[in-house]
Amino acid sequence: MERFKASLLKEILLLLHDKVGLLLMYLMPLLLVFIITIVQDSAFRLVNENRLDILIVNNDKGHLGDSLVQSMKNAGSFKIDVKKGIDERQLANLTLEGSKLATLFVPSNFTQSLSSNSQRISNAMLSEFGMETEPRSNKGNQNAIEGGVKLIFDPVLQESFQVTLINNLQTMISGIESKEMIRQLYADMGYDEIPAKILKELNRNRTKIEAKPAMSGESAMIPNSTQHNVPAWSIFAMFFMVISLGSNLVKERLSGSFVRLQTIPGSFLHAMFAKITVYSFVALTQLMIMFAIGVYIFPLIGLPKLNLPSHIFPFLLISILSAMAAISYAAMVGTYAKTQEQANGFGAISIIIFAAIGGIWVPSFVMPDYMVMISKLSPLHWCLEGFYSLFLKDGSWDQLTGPVVYLIVFTVLCQFLALWRLRRQHYI
């Protein structure tokens, strides 16, 4: 026990002396989690809180252009600014010069065009029922495109937002078209307007879509940038200990300290065990600090609060397994690297690659299929999968089987390779 305590003290003193390593393990991930969460939170808000800024140039001479504008306002999906009397040719410049991400152009004949189409359909339907009516407009045969709206996008707007906007617009125009067609039918049958009872039924019978994230429990966790970024960058931070632990191991090997320990019976394993203990403490404090910031600091600066998982034991298990995987990987790099530069360079680059393919920066579900397969090679992916199950899906044991098995296998493999190498070098 005295040997273990002495080794523990030595490791703590060495760690406290490694200022760069401490900064990399504690400060860098904090900065990253703040910066990335703030940036991603804006994107999440853009999608989830629907704050897409749109300019509507409504040149429609009829009332349906106003209906469209009102529908878009009512949808609450957009931040809308309305202008009138702007020429179609000025639209592109207006979008590029302005702060709006898209401009919707409603032509002057929008109402006329929609009414003509509706009248044409109404006439056709009544004709089918043997109720011939006198056409009230001779423009019913005109092409609908003539009165179509135009949408001009800022080139920076992502395609997914463009598709979302087009779909929203299509739905609203369809609604207006349907209502106009029914109004036309009633008009052709001699009514001035759609009876209030029918109008009420039309509005009431719309099929509702209830959307919510998949969860195994009853937790009310809402996926947001915090729920992704805090665990993701905590994992990154833990694995970045390869710089500190890896170079610490190389230094001890190259300085001859390990050789000296070889001549002291039993001391080498005590030294290694103390190293693992200290770095386990580092990894778990990294997690605690990052999670505490997510819970207590993020809400203070307007970011979503981190909701901790309700299943405590799976949460502890994934945290410990992630820490052990990170330590084992760092130990493996430290035992194989020939110089400190090699350990630092390879260690850092390998973790960045593991992070990139493992879904730390961009979630793996948005990657192409082959990248999703490749991402499974990254230990960070499995740590993240475990935390995703806990943080985003409020996961239970069943959902954690994959990450738990992979992380145990990865840890054992890294430790085996590290011990094999140390044995080959006669340290143990």
Partner: protein, 253 residues
């Protein structure tokens, strides 16, 4: 130079050979010799002769490819595990933690040897005082000169009061004052019974220090005996002459 002090074996080396993986030739070939209790055995030879490999095998750091090494405690054969706690090792490298203070280094290695307080603290104070480092015990080694680090390197090897001390170039790169301090401490310890196996390129220092000499070249023993006997046998005036006579003037890698 003194004569052999004791005829009881402490180490008996029989035909050890060492070949490193992927090496084209042996680093040591059929090396056999005895080490007697309380003697100061010097192992000399040009670069690449196999001196460090031999010391590493004897101190249990490297495995041998073949051959036998027997250790003795009180004239009884003992296995290596029993002899290991009685071994002190002073490597050529600064095998210490530069980020820690001199005292912290000594305390760490002392505790790894199983030493306990207050004996350990007394031992640390005593070693620091003997080696003239008591005023810098709480300074980090990174701020030490080469000579001071070399003295701490030796102090760590002595922390467990070893019966057998392996010294791989203990005075390389140090000033004359540090060299005198180190050699005088080693002589003092030897006088108290510590057996020493020593390598060095400082041949003048070795002439004064060693009781017996082992000359190695290309992994083989080319001469063994007291320095006086060897000088007479090979008609040489000094250890340097002897080495040049036996190994030639060609430069070694």
């Amino acid at each position: 130079m003194t004569e052999q002090k004791n005829t009881s074996h402490i180490i008996k080396v029989s035909g050890i050979t060492k070949r490193y993986p992927k090496a084209e030739s042996n680093s040591l070939t059929e090396v056999s010799f005895d080490v007697f209790r309380g003697e100061k055995l010097g192992i000399f030879g040009p670069n690449g002769a196999g001196k460090t490999t031999l010391i590493s095998i004897l101190s249990g750091i490297l495995p041998k490819s073949s051959g036998e090494v027997h250790y003795y405690i009180d004239n009884q054969s003992a296995n290596f595990k029993k002899i290991l706690p009685k071994i002190g090792f002073v490597p050529q490298d600064f095998a210490l933690y530069q980020e820690l203070t001199a005292t912290q280094n000594l305390r760490y290695f002392g505790k790894m040897h199983g030493l306990k307080n207050p004996e350990l603290e007394q031992k640390i104070s005593s070693l620091l005082a003997i080696l003239g480092l008591d005023h810098v015990g709480n300074r980090k080694l990174a701020s030490f000169s080469g000579g001071m680090k070399r003295r701490i390197n030796l102090a760590i090897g002595l922390i467990n009061d070893p019966e057998i001390l392996f010294l791989d170039e203990p005075t390389v790169g140090v000033d004359v004052q540090s060299k005198v301090a180190i050699m005088s401490l080693l002589n003092e310890l030897n006088a108290k019974g510590t057996t020493m196996i020593y390598t060095s390129h400082h041949l003048r220092e070795a002439e004064d220090f060693c009781d017996r000499t082992l000359l190695l070249d290309n992994g083989k023993i080319i001469a063994e005996g007291t320095l006086n006997d060897l000088l007479k046998q090979h008609n040489a005036e000094s250890l340097e002459d002897l080495l040049i006579n036996l190994t030639g003037k060609a430069l070694r890698d």
